[in-house]
Assembly symmetry: C3
Homo-oligomer: 192 residues x 3
């Protein structure tokens, strides 16, 4: 085998493999050293005002499903087990309910445990600001008595094309059964 052939083979191999590498670099560009370091982090708050029969003007959410022993005006006993709530909540950058929303958190949650407040969430962050257009989609269990809870970011569109990650939820404030504010720490581990 001559040196020339070896050199040629080597360069040919380089050529062949480069498209894959360039893909890998684009797809996972910020992950080279440690895949558990996020490629993007963001913090938001969202605010839920539950309809209770008296606040139809201000309410951002409503009970639309309830078990046989409850109804859709008054939140159910037994840790609200069986209540299904639909929401369209403002997202803000600070914890100030009156600050300008940069998007809406839209979707649903269900209370799914009898003996402790626990929910399951399916929703989107729909961004509509000068900084961000697009959406992030979330799903997961929310054992809301825990200080922090992790759910999955299962996809994204627009500025968040094909994103995946983890969102850490924290209850930042609540007032009885009518108002709660969640802090959401978004950590994306797949950025395209």
């Amino acid at each position: 085998m001559s040196q020339n052939f070896l050199t040629f083979s080597f360069l040919f191999f380089l050529l062949l493999s480069s498209p894959n590498h360039s893909y890998a670099q684009k797809h996972t560009k910020k992950h080279a050293k440690n895949p558990r370091i996020p490629c993007k982090t963001m913090v938001f708050y969202f605010h839920d005002v539950l309809y209770n029969g008296k606040n139809s003007k201000n309410a951002t959410s409503a009970i639309v499903g309830a078990p046989a022993w409850a109804n859709t005006t008054i939140i159910a006993g037994q840790s609200h087990f069986g209540d299904l709530i639909i929401f369209d909540d403002p997202i803000t950058i600070t914890n100030d309910f009156h600050s300008d929303p940069i998007g809406r958190a839209q979707g649903f949650y269900v209370y799914d445990k009898k003996d402790v407040f626990t929910a399951w969430l399916g929703f989107s962050f729909v961004f509509n600001s000068t900084q961000n257009k697009g959406s992030l989609n979330f799903a997961g269990a929310d054992p809301l008595m825990n200080k922090t809870r992790d759910i999955s970011i299962i996809g994204g569109t627009g500025d968040f094309f094909m994103a995946r990650g983890i969102a850490t939820l924290m209850t930042d404030a609540f007032e009885g059964d009518v108002y709660f504010r969640l802090r959401v720490d978004i950590k994306l581990f797949e950025c395209w």
Copy 2:
């Protein structure tokens, strides 16, 4: 260092790296040049006939949750806010409702905004044709007054094993509150 050793090293390196490459090629085979070019595209239509108290024979969907001020027979006011609909809709290749379905779109949507028609969708395309067996799973926000809306394809099974991507929804037709037809442009960016 002899040529033989160098040749050996080179081949050994090829050998070592080939499993990763073959994996990369299988996993991302059509992405080499630009990760934003889909590895698979498909266009389908699906048809939703909502139960309204009179069409139980033809209806493919029904309201099963509603807010306190509405009911499950008549779709709610305020942009249908709070209505939860379950559906089993035929999927067709053309926009002809009477063409042979190649599968079913199955799942739910909620209307989640008071002042403009907006929904949140969780559903599957369940394919059952000679061309495709398997399913694609979808989730995301659908601001349905926009001409096009992007939701996430969060997984797949069978022929669409582990797929991820984006689905662009377009309202292709509607008749009052009873019928709508969605065009769905599927773009997969992860093909296994």
Copy 3:
């Protein structure tokens, strides 16, 4: 071209490519040979006891949405079409309902087809045992008259950080409309 230069080029190339490889190895470490071989498999059972008006003490799930022709105490006719059920079901390692649960399956399912029992599921496995902490999130169609059905594992947290995969469901037992036990074969194809 001298041998030394060739050797240098070769080592330089090795050096250049190593960060990507180390990432690839971490991200997909068990996938080298065939991406369709799971990086992790687990088998669990979960047990659903549906509230029927008489079993409020033992019930782990309840109907919370129903179509206009049905109610939330008695499961609907027409293959339960339109019923929405919320659940908090024990997960066990064996099929014994009375064995110690290692976590809870929490979320919802809807019956979405009139002429054959078919459901759509969105739920989490929330693990809380010495062996596993964390959660797996699931979504997909469940044509439950089929012996096996595949749904998507769309994300995970804790020990299952960023996981993706397929879950194969099998109905292991059922008693009328009150009890069913599902066997879940979990196959993860993305392990971080």
